[in-house]
């Protein structure tokens, strides 16, 4: 092949490729639209599609299941909202179990409203309080694991615990732990109502994974709804529990 034919071939190749056009990416311009309350009108076709679901939902959500005599506020280390919440978990879990359940705990972050207002309590409000489909587990913990669990709670300023528990936070540790009025025995075995989220190691409770546990199959939220409804049927309001189960 001579130098000239090679040059001609290269030239031809260049010509051929330059004949076909390609799509060059030239520019990208971004923008965002924030959907504010008064931003865009409602698409009536879409609203009509939502309507039957909304009606069905509202019917359930607007049902009043009980009455709250005064505002229950969420707080650390103990509060009226968290006291009530964990007592419900203990009562409802005990009702499902043949053996004695010593205490119940709940992760602080899992309670999703800052307060339960005074007045009628709807199913919808309890959904807001507990939107997650967390399930109750019954777990067997050695006293030493209970100490570990309460230490973690103490580190983060105190978590919701049932009425059967009391301790004092000292330098970020749980001290003077009592269960049902008796000092914690680190060698004994305790039975606890613990939501699956924590029982499966959530919120850094990794040491709980693998401990003997039983899945009750009952949603935390359903326990709350049932408890409020049952009390209401017996003419009882939501209890206001002001004691400091955890002290600082």
């Amino acid at each position: 092949m001579t130098k000239y034919t090679l040059a001609a071939l290269v030239h031809l190749a260049v010509l051929l490729t330059s004949c076909s056009k390609v799509n060059h990416l030239a520019d990208v311009k971004p923008r965002t639209y924030r959907i504010e309350k008064a931003s865009y009108p409602v698409d009536v076709r879409i609203a009509a599609l939502i309507e039957p679901y909304k009606l069905q939902l509202d019917k359930t959500m607007n049902e009043v299941v009980g009455y709250c005599p005064e505002e229950l506020v969420k707080g650390k280390p103990s509060s009226t909202l968290t006291n009530w919440f964990t007592d419900v978990l203990l009562e409802e879990t005990q009702a499902l179990s043949d053996e004695r359940v010593d205490f119940a705990v709940q992760n602080y972050g899992g309670i999703r409203i800052p307060a339960l207002s005074k007045g009628p309590v709807t199913v919808g409000k309890l959904y807001e309080l507990m939107p997650f489909d967390n399930i109750m587990f019954i777990q067997k913990l050695k006293g030493s694991d209970v100490k570990l669990l309460f230490n973690r709670m103490a580190e983060s300023g105190g978590w919701p615990v049932s009425r059967s528990v009391s301790f004092k936070i000292e330098y970020g540790k749980a001290e003077n732990i009592k269960i049902n009025g008796v000092a914690l025995d680190t060698t004994a075995t305790y039975t606890a109502a613990i939501p699956d989220y924590i029982a499966n190691g959530g919120d850094n409770m990794t040491f709980l994974t693998g401990l003997p546990s039983k899945n009750t199959g009952v949603l935390i939220r359903d326990m709350l709804i049932k408890n409020v409804r049952d009390r209401h049927a017996r003419g009882l309001q939501i209890p206001v529990l002001k004691e400091q189960r955890i002290t600082e």
């Binding site: 490729t17 330059s18 004949c19 076909s20 056009k21 390609v22 799509n23 060059h24 990416l25 030239a26 520019d27 990208v28 311009k29 971004p30 923008r31 965002t32 639209y33 924030r34 959907i35 504010e36 309350k37 931003s39 865009y40 009108p41 409602v42 698409d43 009536v44 076709r45 879409i46 609203a47 599609l49 939502i50 679901y53 909304k54 069905q56 939902l57 359930t60 959500m61 919808g124 959904y127 939107p131 489909d133 699956d196 499966n200």
Partner: protein, 307 residues
């Protein structure tokens, strides 16, 4: 002369549609400009209605019926629209608890979503629960790194889809986050997760070279970025090639504008995410110039920020 490989301009200043300013470079006719409008959401989390007026930080924001109007208006102005979602369609309001995601899927179909990927919360009713809702979706779920062979979802997802819009060929594929430790095992049982970087590289290559796509989009539910060593959209962007745009989710990050990064070949890749709950709709107008190979009059000099 511009290379096919371009450098993203650091500011998105206006596109010069006229070639009049470049008489020496201009061919006999003005270049043909194509435009693709990408609309996107992520982590809508069953937020069908706007947030309730309860004094909360997000009160009154969002709502599918308003988003529908906005999307319709954009469609009236723009010919070539792609509407995409980066996962976590489910969980967050009682609509999901009560109806299992049926309404979410019906609404996205009605809004004309072209594709979505799968987020971790889309497993919240189990693999079977997700599969049950697919009948209400007229758009595909795209994912390249979940193997559903041993589950009810077998054959119900696809790795990618190609869209032809105004002479452009757009390839869209999806990647999902590692489920172990994030989703209860019994909910995703049978789903086999594999490395999203390897999967993304493989399918982006396929879309670019075998399918000859002009633009390659990755729908990702990996999350924007992490402090710890964990694969994220930023990691994905910088360790792969042939992806032009990553539309992300999971970390609920409200980004003012897309981040521009250099991929492993030094070519530009954009990463974007628009928060959560349908509070914001993202839009990217992508301009293409149809011209000879190696010639582009309107191409921006895209400067890639060092990572």
């Amino acid at each position: 002369m511009n290379r096919r490989q371009f450098i993203i301009h650091s500011s998105y200043s206006g596109l010069l549609l006229s070639t009049g300013m470049f008489p020496l470079m201009a061919s006999s006719s003005e270049p043909e400009i194509g435009r693709l409008t990408i609309l996107h959401t992520n982590d809508v989390h069953s937020r069908i209605e706007p947030f309730p007026m309860d004094g909360g930080k997000n009160e009154g924001l969002g709502g599918v019926a308003k988003r529908a109007t906005l999307i319709q208006r954009i469609r009236e102005e723009q010919k070539n629209v792609l509407l995409l979602d980066a996962g976590d369609i489910f969980q967050g309001t009682p609509y999901f608890n009560f109806f299992g995601g049926e309404l979410e899927m019906k609404l996205m179909s009605q809004l004309g979503y072209d594709a979505a990927t799968i987020g971790n919360h889309d497993f919240d009713a189990g693999v079977e629960g997700l599969e049950k809702q697919l009948v209400h979706a007229n758009f595909p779920l795209l994912v390249t790194n979940y193997d559903f062979s041993d589950t009810a979802m077998n054959g119900k997802t696809r790795p990618y889809k190609i869209f032809r819009k105004g002479g452009l060929k757009i390839g869209v594929f999806g990647v999902g986050i590692e489920l172990s430790g994030l989703v209860p095992e019994k909910l995703y049982r049978g789903t086999v997760y594999s490395d999203p970087v390897a999967a993304a590289q493989k399918w982006a290559q396929t879309l670019r070279y075998e399918e000859k796509c002009d633009f390659v989009i990755c729908l990702s539910h990996l999350g924007y970025k992490y402090d710890e060593q964990k694969v994220s959209d930023r990691v994905l962007a910088q360790t792969t090639s042939e992806i032009d745009l990553i539309i992300g989710g999971h970390t609920h990050t409200f980004m003012k504008e897309p981040e521009r990064l250099a991929n492993k070949d030094g070519k530009p890749v954009l990463v974007n995410q628009v928060g959560w709950a349908g509070i914001v709709l993202g839009r990217l107008d992508v301009y293409f110039e149809k011209n000879k190979k190696g010639t582009c009059v309107t191409c921006k000099n895209l400067l890639v920020k060092p990572a």
